[in-house]
């Protein structure tokens, strides 16, 4: 058994420490982000945390105007939308994240395939409603 349980709380603690961490199966090598304690490929339970580069590619995106309660409380609304996306990390896994470095009011300027990198919460700053943020660094 792994010494860690690969919970959401452990994952968030890594993010707070500026580490984007996935779990890698020590039996078959499969990599999981979000982390899992049990390998869905070989069913082994021997996982280790592994730091990812934080670099990836924007696989899909949309602009959220009809925001759920938690994002409403964070200051987003119909007139202040945010971009939500799927990011494929260069190590392989895909993850949902908030996307910055783009103009939410002009989605036609956002490109699938753009290169992105993870942005960690700065200093004592509140990480905000979405713990995982990627910034577009260059268009495809």
């Amino acid at each position: 058994m792994s010494p860690h349980s690969f919970t959401h709380a452990e994952y968030l603690a890594h993010l707070q420490n500026h580490v984007l961490a996935a779990s890698r199966c020590q039996n078959c090598g499969e990599l999981y982000l979000p982390p899992r304690p049990l390998c869905r490929r070989c069913f082994a339970q021997d996982m280790r945390w592994e730091e990812l580069s934080g670099r990836g590619e924007l696989v899909a995106f949309t602009v959220v105007h009809i925001v759920p309660s938690a994002m409403l409380e964070a200051g987003y609304d119909q007139d202040r939308p945010y971009v939500s996306g799927l990011v494929r990390l260069e190590e392989g896994p895909t993850i949902s994240a908030l996307i910055t470095g783009v103009d939410a009011h002009h989605p036609e300027t956002i490109r699938v395939g753009s290169q992105v990198r993870v942005v960690f919460p700065r200093g004592d700053q509140d990480p905000g409603p979405a713990p995982l943020v990627f910034e577009v660094v260059s268009e495809s």
Partner: protein, 387 residues
């Protein structure tokens, strides 16, 4: 196992039904189905519902409804599988009758979504997604579907306008359904120019937030003639549920609805049929992209060719594979936990020849598919009209 037949159907209009609470909606559909079947009691009531607790503060819903329709004392339970709750309840009802643990079962689907504010309903629908790794990052149910549509357009180089046939067909068909929420035709131009809600999804890609209830009565097929007052008996030829990852990002190929593939193909095997044998298909067009992904996964169109099937005209009432024959989720409406039962009711209407101006010329084998979340629970039913 025993074969199961549907001998009664009932439904309420779909819409913003502010004057009726959950219990009254459920009552109207259940009583209509009981009258249609000619029954005064039942062994069990299973209720498909997603949001009664979250939006209405009411759980223990099936027991409430059992008493309210005069059936206090019988078994009752609510079944939840997000937007697939209706079909999930249907499947539990079928299992109860097939196994011999019950003889007469009522299955209802009930939902009330319009008594709450939009952000509350949005948060409620997002309960179908992965809370820790999707919703916490800002994704909503609408957003996840929008990302799937964006990815589809990118991978297959399909313009947004290619999806027009699906909502256009649904609205056209809704005109013949007195219970539909939006029984008005829309043009391709209106579709293309509709306000965007989450790019590339626009208003005309999206099924509406609404209220409604539908119900069916199930009995063993060999006793079906005792019920239904001489109406054509409809037999359940297959009922199959399959699952996928809850989160879209956890799927190796987000554009392939693996649970739709698994449930439909297992259903074909159980029924001894192929996709060519399906006369019509009530699919889960919560968003236009879901129609396309479902048609492809179920074997009606090759990968990347789902929009072409729509453009070919095959999906119209007089086409080779009519879909959403009474308006679908888009135009009949999508009261989430009730939708799976509306689909079953509409398949029965077609098989019985009770679909009015929308009646298909050839309706012997009908398929219904109810999708929970963005494809995580997918339940396929194949129903056959007995001669």
């Amino acid at each position: 196992m025993r074969d199961v037949a549907i001998v009664g159907i009932g439904q309420t209009p779909v819409g913003e039904l502010w004057d009726k609470s959950l219990r009254h909606l459920g009552h109207d559909a259940i009583v209509a189905a009981m009258q249609d079947a000619g029954i005064e009691t039942a062994d069990a009531l299973y209720v498909g519902n997603m949001l009664s607790g979250e939006l209405g503060g009411q759980e223990h819903l099936a027991t409430l409804l059992a008493d309210f329709v005069g059936l206090r004392g019988i078994e009752a339970a609510k079944i939840e599988a997000a937007c697939a709750s209706g079909a999930a309840a249907m499947r539990v009802g079928i299992m109860a009758v097939a196994s011999g643990m019950a003889d007469v079962v009522i299955v209802a689907g009930v939902e009330k979504m319009t008594d709450t504010l939009p952000h509350e309903t949005t948060a409620g629908l997002a309960l179908a997604a992965d809370q820790e790794y999707e919703v916490a990052e800002g994704a909503t149910f609408l957003a996840l579907n929008a990302m799937l549509m964006r990815r589809y357009m990118y991978e297959y180089r399909v313009p947004h306008s290619a999806f027009a046939p699906f909502p256009v067909n649904a609205h056209k068909n809704a005109q013949g359904n007195p219970n539909a929420m939006f029984p008005m035709a829309i043009s391709v131009e209106r579709y293309i120019n509709a306000p965007v809600v989450a790019p590339p999804i626009n208003v005309m890609d999206s099924s509406p937030i609404c209220d409604g209830a539908a119900a069916v009565v199930l009995v063993p097929a060999d006793r079906a003639k005792e019920y239904g007052q001489g109406k054509r008996i409809v037999r359940v030829a297959a009922s199959v549920s399959a699952t996928d990852t809850l989160a879209v990002h956890d799927r190796r190929d987000p554009l392939f609805l693996e649970a739709a593939y698994l449930s439909s193909h297992r259903a074909y095997t159980l029924a001894g049929l192929t996709p060519k044998d399906i006369d019509f298909f009530e699919l889960h067009d919560a968003f236009s992209i879901m129609s396309v992904l479902s048609l492809e996964a179920c074997g009606f169109a090759p990968r990347g060719q789902g929009t072409a099937l729509g453009e070919s005209g095959a999906i119209a009432l007089d086409g080779e594979l009519p879909i959403t024959t009474m308006g679908g989720l888009k135009a009949r409406g999508h009261p989430v936990g009730a939708t799976g039962i509306y689909q079953i009711v509409e398949v029965v209407q077609q098989l019985r020849g009770e679909a009015g101006t929308n009646q298909l010329k050839h309706a012997h084998v009908g398929m219904a598919q109810n999708i929970g979340g963005s494809g995580a629970t997918i339940i396929t039913h194949i129903l056959v009209g007995e001669d």
